[in-house]
Symmetry: C2
Subunit: 89 residues, 2 copies
């Protein structure tokens, strides 16, 4: 389903629900859920707990201790800009 623009957006939206839905608070990602997502979806990106803490803190813009859907979208956008820069070099 993901090969059209809308399909790829749907995959990314479902991906949030998949990991955010693992604990009782289904509308946002805890640090544990973010960690699981990154380890499953982008292996090698996060090394140790210190890196995870710094990364989570950077994403959690409103400092409520969770990553909201909008904060996740900012993550996805940043990752695409980072990948684009890597590929363009």
């Amino acid at each position: 389903m993901g090969d059209s623009m809308l399909g790829a957006m749907a995959v990314l939206m479902k991906n949030f629900d998949k990991y955010a839905g693992k604990d009782a608070e289904k509308g946002s990602m805890s640090k544990a859920e973010l960690s699981e997502m990154l380890h499953q979806e982008i292996p090698g990106m996060i090394g140790d707990k210190k890196q995870l803490d710094a990364f989570f803190s950077g994403l959690d813009e409103d400092k409520d201790g969770t990553v909201s859907f909008n904060e996740y979208i900012v993550l996805v956008g940043s990752l695409m800009m980072m990948l684009k820069e890597m590929f363009d070099q």
Copy 2:
């Protein structure tokens, strides 16, 4: 390829290149390229030229007359937030 998180991001990155690459300026989207992308990928979103002009002007944050990759990423993020709100209602 698009059903994983990374795969979906790759589809969205390729989608930019597909439409931005239609004229000589391959690193950015002209208004004509944006129009073609929206008509092909999100049929019904843009009705007439006036809507397209307003939409293009909103996206072109640095007012250089083209939509850069980063401006496209802002568009993709905004669309996902809009769709999420629609689905959550």
